[in-house]
Symmetry: C2
Subunit: 211 residues, 2 copies
Amino acid sequence: MRQKVVISKATIDRLPLYFRTLRVTKEEGREIISSEELGRRLGITPEQIRKDLASFGQFGKKGVGYYVHELMRNIGEILGLDNNWNIAVVGIGHLGAALANYQNFITLGFNLMALFDADEDVVGTIVNKVKVDHINDVNQVVKERNIHIGVIAVPAPFAQEVADKLVTAGVTGIWNFAPRKIVVPEHICIVNEDLSVGLSNLSYHITRKLL
Amino acid sequence: MRQKVVISKATIDRLPLYFRTLRVTKEEGREIISSEELGRRLGITPEQIRKDLASFGQFGKKGVGYYVHELMRNIGEILGLDNNWNIAVVGIGHLGAALANYQNFITLGFNLMALFDADEDVVGTIVNKVKVDHINDVNQVVKERNIHIGVIAVPAPFAQEVADKLVTAGVTGIWNFAPRKIVVPEHICIVNEDLSVGLSNLSYHITRKLL
């Protein structure tokens, strides 16, 4: 019987970093990596890494290290990256175009399936091999292409309206880049990506260093 | 005598959200806001808000609320947003162009002062009223325009090289969007913005909901 384990958000946040580093290690042709080396590459202590990975089960061999391929597969499963999520980006301005071209979508196993915009000049254009559809067609396109995740890259005043449309159309998750709180029904997962947080954080630390 | 207060990273991460909401409140012409309303707008409990803001001093009046203008100014000071940081973006692809057009730079008090690229076709073009310089001129431009923060938006394999150049040129902080760990001297502040973390987080939670 599989036990239900409660995992902290901080641990979940580190798993993609492990996954990325393991991928690079694998590309280098390596089969085993120690927690010490993983730590060195990531700037995380080996103790923290061993603790994080121990919450999910036994992926390593004491005194040898972790089997890269096996650990990668396991972390990918935990994160649900083996589910082949289909993604749609709404709002094909600078940020939306950057996200549509984001190489990690593919690396992480996500499929860019649709793009939406409200601007007639943008609708019909091709970005990263995907044709931009009109946001008014979101219901039909989300259903036809089985879109799981909607990425919101529209200006803040339109974010809630777009979220409502995506939810009605049937997405399960929303990745929100608009700097605005969005309200969604409880069965919808939402992750807010707020760039001002990172920037303010940097400002805070520079200020402290320069004082 | 001003006491040195240790503030948790989680609190620091919430301050920009407070700042943003206060700005909107101010634009609405409001002078006072309660922790309850701030909480409702942000999806954070009023208790958490009162606790966060209490670590810095007394910004509110019991039973009335916070004075919007005063609290905004204080949070801005704590985050160092009153320092008029000068910013340069390196790598003017889709993401770099999106960052160069990022409206929150101005809202948060940052000045976009320079853009750099290595591609001769991009060098000399204008993005958001700033001319793109060649990365080889980074030393001169950073000094002349007093750049404090370098934003790295180049592909991962070039990220460390660009960071080294920015540090040599004299920046104090680095905001890194390349999905690669960057090593910098201890006196340099670095904040890594890794989009795959948010995306994997979303995947994790959708998987848990659908199970």
